[in-house]
Amino acid sequence: MKVLRDLLFPSLAVLCAFLAGAVIVALVGDSPIETYRLLLGSAFSWPDGIGYTLFFATPLIFTGLAVAVALRGGLLNIGAEGQLYVAAFATAWIGITFANLPAVVLVPLCCVAAIVAGAVWGAIPGVLKARFGSHEVINTIMLNFVAVALVGYLTQYHYRIPGDPIMETAPVGSGAHIPRLGAFIPGLPARIPLNIAFLLALLSSWLVYVLLWKTKWGYEIRATGQNPAAAEYGGVSVRREVVLTMAISGALAGMVGINEVLGYRYRYYDGFSDNYGFTGIAVALLGRNHPFGVVVAALLFAVLQRGGVPVDAFTQLVSKDIVLILQALVILFVAAEAAFRRGGRRRGAEG
């Protein structure tokens, strides 16, 4: 019964968002059916549709997990965007600085850099909350802007190839490249940037599940999230939990850097994130803060993102920005879940 309800509310929210989106498309003067056919249909062709969809899903799984873990611990991490920027830069920084190391050393080193940088940037608002009681929402928002400025400065003044008009760093050493899945899957061309980080994302989802529900740590995180006062009474140091949860959340967001730098562009490219951190909020909510739900929700948003391309190309008036509108509508409908619940309760009473 609980599983059914867990599936019912997100589905209803998505359905409502799509209906509202259809109204907007119709008002703009295009055909909703044709638009949705393009949006949802293009993701399933082989190899480009599926390859790119899974590639787009990778960062969203990471940020979705980041937001979900924080929410389980009672914290709202609006800072995944900043965390992933700092982490991606750190990844590239290690990849550039130790460019001559062999892959067996350099790849793990870069991955550690991504995770540690994300964890540190995530832990800052955790420490601020634990030590000074300042709200993590405001601090994570502010740190997003600080991160963008800081990384922009480092790229522009220290790590750009002189004369390069693009805001990007020098390339990382070839030892820092991780294989694309095309190397293992026949028929999947190497130009599609789907890489091992996708498998890492799936693994992370499983690890988050184990962490939250099978370990003492995870139990303490969830206990803190449910009722901090009771957790404290039960012997959990809530302050420590706050810092730890934010660090884990930041680390997960930071792993976006592995996909972006080691698996895709092989350098840090300023402003690469297509709102991954904020979409992560939608992903986590839609996935009901469950690591497996997050994967499903990330896939849905990736399908939309992939579908935005043909929408741009083949419709008269609607642009791919309809995807952003759908995302926003999903967030609003999921957040307003009580609207559905009320109806659900009434129906329950009648039956």
């Binding site: 642009s319 967030i331 307003a336």
Partner: protein, 314 residues
């Protein structure tokens, strides 16, 4: 340093602080009533787009501002319904509104103007006027007359807000539902009704701030043209301790930092002969906010019931 502290820096500060003041004072109404408003960014974008589009069709900037107020108020109402009626998480719902306005203006401008996210240019004489275009005063007052009407109105709004907050029944109710909704309810105040008013007012004012961006400071709407100003306004609100005059001063400070960044570009050099990296000045509002929130520069205390939905039954 002397060379950059000129009159143009003062003007630049006023221009850049104006949209922040409107949005931050808007945020004040919402947050003093107890509803977190991180949607200021999106509401400003709603205002900016609507103002530019309506001015383009009607050739009247004031019609544009009016429409901007209505449009932003409408979406603030949507936020209020989701947060108050359906008890959604206010931060999450606000994020939803922000993302909505990354997409909605782009889709609409594509349909209306066949562009990818911006409105057509609006002629100079159809933009929001400066003082000199409205009143005739001597050239010795040039300093004042170059300032936009909207900047003066912002000053007025700050004064009015200060008055409303402390000297009117509405202000008292607004503050009481934000501090202690249970007590307010016991005193017969309709808590949620006041909160609706607070959030919708925040939309109205943030809408004006956005309108000033598109048809005052520049002459068209461009994609994501607020570029984080809604969040700086939020930062100013916190720095200003949720009080009107202090909040305005914080906006002026942040506007000044922004103006300084622009003026310093290519003018001021570090001792090593390099440009001062603009990124460090851009960080100022955000770092200041973090420091203030941590209580290093005086305690900034949020309204008591900020972010707590009010449920009569519980």
């Amino acid at each position: 340093m002397r060379s950059i502290l000129t009159l143009s820096l003062v003007f630049s500060t006023i221009r850049l602080a104006t949209p922040l003041v409107w949005a931050a004072i808007g945020g004040l109404y919402s947050e003093r009533s107890g509803v977190i408003n991180i949607a200021l960014e999106g509401l400003m974008l709603a205002g900016a787009f609507t103002a530019a589009a309506v001015t383009f069709y009607t050739h009247s900037p004031w019609a544009g501002v009016g429409a901007a107020m209505l449009a932003a108020a409408f979406f603030a109402l949507l936020l209020a319904v989701v947060c108050i009626r359906f008890k959604a998480n206010e931060v999450v719902a606000g994020t939803g509104i922000n993302i909505l306005f990354l997409g909605l203006p782009a889709v609409l401008s594509g349909a209306l103007f066949l562009s990818s996210g911006s409105t057509p240019q609006i002629p100079q004489d159809e933009l929001l006027p400066t003082l000199s275009q409205v009143v005739r005063i001597g050239p010795q007052w040039r300093v004042l007359t170059d300032v936009s009407i909207v900047s003066f109105l912002a000053l007025l709004v700050v004064g009015l807000t200060s008055y409303v907050l402390h000297w009117t029944p509405f202000g008292l109710r607004l503050r009481s539902v934000g501090e202690n909704p249970e007590a307010a309810d016991a005193a017969g105040i309709r808590v949620n009704r006041i909160r609706y008013a607070g959030v919708v007012l925040s939309g109205v004012l943030a809408g004006v701030g956005g309108a000033y961006l598109s048809i005052g400071q520049s002459s068209l709407f461009t994609r994501n043209m607020t570029a984080g100003r809604g969040f700086i306004a939020l930062a100013a609100l916190i720095f200003g301790k949720w009080r009107p005059v202090q909040t305005m001063l914080a906006c002026v400070l942040f506007g000044f930092a922004d103006a300084l960044t622009i003026q310093m570009q290519g003018v001021v050099k570090l001792p090593s002969g390099e440009d001062v990296p603009v990124q460090f000045i851009q960080m100022i509002p955000y770092v200041v906010t973090i420091v203030v929130l941590a209580g290093f520069i005086g305690q900034s205390r949020a309204p008591g019931a900020l972010g707590v939905p009010y449920d009569k039954e519980s």
